[in-house]
Symmetry: C2
Subunit: 205 residues, 2 copies
DNA sequence: CCTACCGATCGGTAGG
DNA sequence: CCTACCGATCGGTAGG
């Protein structure tokens, strides 16, 4: 009913919330149907099986979050500036897609091995891009950190783990959360950017 | 057989690995039994049900990891030194219990609501202790960071997310991983400690 | 008689 | 697009 949102999209929306709250195995097809007020054959008309739904959600969110460290080939900016932008994009994408990106981590065990492998490849590429920019920025004297791999993974945790504590209805508005989390990442790699942000003359207390 | 390890403990050991790899719903009691070469009544003699097994594992690991910021009442050291020690203990505990602590995050949806609430309380207490020490250290001019809550949660992610990439058989020995991850946490709060570690005269490149 | 365990099978529910 | 229902498999427990 209430045309506007595509039917397939409505299923995904309901499923995202249910998977997020109950996990993959803990969410039954009947729950999804009940949420939408439709019957199972309706859902199976749009999706081959339960896995196709969760994989669609996880893939979307993963692509959105893990392609943020890609830059145009003709982008000539120094590494630390690309990184400053990429990290911000990354955090913003993870905040936006926090429910579905939680899936990619939480329901790992329920995913088909081939799909898990695709997700892993996506993540590995991302961390390779990230580490490359980090190394470049360090060589150019703009960044400071000890271990590139461990630091990159630590940043991944700082961002990816957000789903365990972030609540959209919380006191911190999304943009503010993005700003603070990004600032934390900058600090982890010793990145000092003159961000044109609305901060008063505030010393790093 | 092969006395030595308690029978109950053998069940927990096998279950930990299976739950870690396949999730809660993806692990059947038959799998656990098969791994041990015992029958179900054997397992059900030691555990009331499947939940009791996973909860025992998750609780142990969570307690081990989330009580590392507690200090004796008569410990008079300044906050930043307690923090230096606590963070190291925290990382070490998470590395040791990484399989079971992964459970606490991954199988959340499969846990009984009451148990989830207990875990949440444990975690909230931990972050309260952590944030208190951070604030204290900052007031005393020994630490520097912007947002205590966000930084604390970011550290939690850096540590807690380790289970997604750490492999015990990897090239990085556990002690070395602990050292590097701890160093990353120190950096996140601007903690500079003259750690008596076996580092050569190496400038923070 | 108890404990520790086995072979066999139960009720209930999942995806499809 | 729904009602009705299947084949398969789950966690948990019976008697001995």
């Amino acid at each position: 009913m209430t045309a506007g949102i595509d039917k397939r999209e409505r299923i995904l929306l309901a499923a995202e919330d249910l998977f997020y709250r109950n996990g993959f195995a803990g969410t039954t097809m009947d729950m999804i149907c009940g949420e939408l007020g439709v019957t199972k054959p309706f859902v199976y008309y749009y999706f081959k099986d339960k896995h196709e739904i969760v994989e669609t959600l996880a893939w979307r969110a993963s692509v959105a979050c893990l392609t943020t460290m890609k830059f145009a080939a003709d982008d000539e900016r120094p590494a630390h500036l690309k990184l400053a932008e990429g990290l911000q994009r990354w955090v913003a994408a993870c905040v936006t897609h926090f429910r579905a990106s939680a899936l990619a981590f939480r329901v790992t065990a329920s995913l088909r091995p081939e799909f898990r492998a695709e997700l892993r490849t996506l993540a590995n590429d991302f961390y390779a891009d990230l580490a490359a920019l980090m190394d470049e920025g360090r060589v150019q004297g703009k960044l400071s950190f000890d271990d590139a791999t461990v630091t990159a993974r630590a940043m991944g945790g700082a961002v990816g783990f957000m789903y365990t504590w972030y609540r959209p209805e919380g006191r911190l508005p999304p943009e503010e959360l993005v700003a603070r989390l990004t600032a934390t990442l900058y600090k982890m790699i010793g990145l000092r950017v003159a961000t044109p942000r609305r901060t008063a003359t505030r010393k790093d207390a």
